[in-house]
């Protein structure tokens, strides 16, 4: 942990003369989302390593605080980083609820906040702030990108299931919107609680439905259990399973065994994207950490790059929040995920989405990119 506490709270408020760029990273290092938080920080550190933790002669310093994925705790930690540590830029939050919780705090104190994971739609819609920019994804992008493609390539009748929390509901709603707009029919829906482990009852229900395929949104342990039990209950042979990238994410597939074979998923990055940028990123990550990067590692890596490039364009002076967010808005680069740029109206990333298919390669599962949906832009309302 690189936490330094500034005991003198009346430290130079203008900050322009300070020698470091202080970044507050509010990520979970305990609780259910601990592994996501860890991957995000690893991604950030990897990028800062590459630029020697320095921009225009200014040192980069990360102050880490454990969000515990708890909004109340996170708000306290955000206040600490803003008021006591006097961070210049805030980044992070895995949980959307945490992002909403600190939204008013960063908005009123004018702290540039680069959201590097939390995907709740409203953060760049009704809850939009001048100081909040999101480089990760919105639930709409995840769900919507699969809708039309599934109608054309998978089938015309689909059963929808998703974890019963705001994010799961938003993703599935976006999917249903695009799928029915294309002409598809939703034959049934069921929403198991978040953190549910036994899907037997739901799978029996789903198995009785007359559908061409099942669309599922689950993540983390839910995704492992659902995908495994989907196979165990004999549904894999009956109906193809489609969903989001988290269903078959890089850190889960080993635990899932061969069960995810054949799953079609929509995502904004995959390990097997075949570009030079992605190959360089994955190789560097594996060299440093001895494991494959996950989607979250990429999010951290890109967030670090956005911050560094914005700071560089300001000559290293990040003391004026309005200038910082203006600099954010102009950042574009070739990311491992594809072309990266912000939508200046919504403050949300415009990015390519990918459809992947999970295949068996040498006895292990690999995701293969089979389709690219270019420049998906969140409608912003």
């Amino acid at each position: 942990m690189q936490s330094t506490s500034n005991s003198d709270d009346k430290a130079d408020a203008s900050g322009s003369s300070s020698e470091t760029i202080k970044i507050g990273a509010l990520l979970p290092s305990s609780g259910v989302y601990a592994s996501l938080g860890k991957n995000l920080s690893q991604g950030m550190e990897l990028y800062f390593d590459e630029i020697n933790w320095e921009v225009e002669g200014k040192k980069i310093e990360i102050i880490n605080e454990d969000s515990e994925a708890d909004p109340q705790v996170s708000l306290r930690k955000a206040r600490k980083m803003i008021d006591q540590d006097q961070v210049d830029i805030l980044t992070g939050t895995v949980s959307t609820a945490v992002a909403y919780a600190i939204r008013d705090e960063v908005d009123s104190k004018k702290i540039p906040f680069l959201v590097s994971h939390a995907g709740g739609n409203d953060l760049t819609r009704s809850q939009r702030s001048d100081y909040i920019w999101r480089s990760s994804f919105s639930s709409w992008q995840i769900g919507h990108s699969m809708g039309e493609w599934a109608y054309k390539n998978v089938g015309h009748k689909i059963y929808v299931t998703a974890a019963d929390y705001a994010f799961g509901k938003e993703v599935s709603a976006a999917f249903k919107e695009a799928y029915t707009a294309a002409g598809g029919e939703i034959v049934g829906e069921v929403y198991p609680p978040l953190g549910n482990n036994d899907y037997s009852s739901y799978l029996t229900t789903i198995g009785g439905a007359e559908a061409d395929a099942v669309y599922a949104f689950f993540a983390g342990s839910d995704a492992v259990r659902f995908v495994q039990q989907y196979e165990q209950y004999g549904l894999k042979e009956k109906m193809p399973l489609i969903g989001s990238g988290w269903l078959v994410s890089e850190d889960l597939r080993e635990s899932q065994g061969n069960a995810p074979e054949g799953i079609l998923a929509s995502t904004f990055w995959d390990y097997n994207i075949n570009t030079d940028e992605n190959k360089a990123f994955t190789a560097a990550f594996e060299k440093k950490y001895g494991a494959r990067p996950t989607l979250e590692a990429l999010e951290g890596y890109d967030a670090a790059r956005i911050i560094a490039e914005a700071a560089a364009s300001l000559g290293g002076d990040v003391s004026d929040p309005d200038q910082v967010v203006e600099a954010f808005s102009n950042v574009t680069f070739a990311s491992p995920r594809g072309e990266f740029k912000f939508d200046k109206d919504t403050h949300h990333v415009i990015q390519d989405m990918y459809i992947t298919k999970t295949q068996l390669v040498n006895g292990k599962t690999e995701n293969e990119v089979i389709e690219t949906i270019e420049q998906v832009q969140d409608p912003g309302k």
């Binding site: 482990n197 739901y202 495994q228 635990s255």
Partner: protein, 289 residues
């Protein structure tokens, strides 16, 4: 009709799994009067040890079935001797704090040893297949769990009702002074019961791991579920725990089938109704405070 039959099997299997997870907690609370909030953590250790043993070869599951509960039993022995024994006289509130503190410690120990990724336990081929019942495929292991639950219940019932140890244990519940007057070493009884409770928690970890998997905070989820089963059944009654486990298994399964959006609500609703109608649980004895 097939659908209802299939859901019955699901519910029964889930209920039996709950029983295997809860019976250790029920035993310890029933006899020692100790509310062991670290029960979920012992369960978790059992599951993680199973993972470590089976990670390279699924066939090792049989070995884990013996080793993991023993590891947890040893851990329980250490806890009893070093911490619990010294604090029996302090009463429930202190034990709540003590065992909750242990749960916190085990949480981080597990995170340090096994990380915070989501893990799975693979089953040996003989248990990994599927079986067709009511025109539906079921994982064979789910049916095996039903069998294990019944066996365990029968075994516990036999020990408690038909053996000398069982008699001592039952007496220990109702009158601790009398037992020591009879020349039985009550301290030893407590240690043995707590160790058995730990063994059963570890066994629960092994049995449930292939179905429920391993992930951070699994122990707190399991703990709260086990407490619900314990209370609905009534304290100090293994048959109550058994009945409650089946009841919850069925209620939860059918509420997920019929009114999925309210399934969270139903389990606690059931608990509230049972307690309001029968303040000592379904089959519980009145336990002095």
């Amino acid at each position: 009709m097939d659908m209802i039959g299939a859901q019955l099997v699901n519910g029964l299997s889930y209920g039996m799994m709950l029983f295997v997870i809860t019976c250790g907690l029920a035993l310890v609370f029933g006899i020692l009067g100790v509310l062991n909030l670290a029960h979920g953590s012992l369960y978790m250790i059992g599951a993680y040890v199973t993972y470590s043993i089976t990670v390279n070869s699924a066939q090792n599951f049989w070995m884990a079935l013996i080793i993991a509960p023993i590891v947890v039993a040893i851990l329980a022995f250490i806890i009893e001797m070093t911490l619990l024994r010294a604090t029996y006289h302090l009463g429930h509130l202190s034990q709540v704090l003590l065992t909750f503190g242990l749960a916190y410690i085990f949480h981080d120990i597990a995170a340090i040893i096994w990380g915070s990724n989501v893990l799975s336990v693979a089953l040996p081929p003989s248990l990994a297949g599927t079986t067709v019942l009511f025109d539906q495929s079921f994982p064979t292991y789910r049916l095996v769990v039903i069998g294990i639950g019944f066996l365990l219940a029968a075994g516990l019932w036999y020990v408690q009702e038909k053996t000398r140890w069982g008699a001592i244990i039952r007496a220990g519940l109702s009158d601790k002074e009398m037992i020591s007057a009879l020349g039985v070493n009550i301290k030893l009884v407590f240690t043995v019961v707590f160790v058995i409770g730990g063994f059963l928690a570890g066994l629960g970890g092994v049995i449930a791991a292939p179905v429920l998997g391993l992930y951070p905070i699994m122990e707190f989820q399991t703990l709260i579920l086990a407490l619900v089963v314990l209370v609905i059944g009534g304290l100090g009654s293994i048959s109550g725990t058994f009945t409650a486990a089946i009841l919850i298994g069925l209620v939860e399964t059918f509420s997920k089938y019929l009114v999925p959006e309210l399934s969270l609500f139903f389990v606690y609703g059931l608990m509230a109704v049972v307690l309001v109608v029968k303040p000592n649980g379904l089959l519980g004895k009145k336990v002095a405070a």
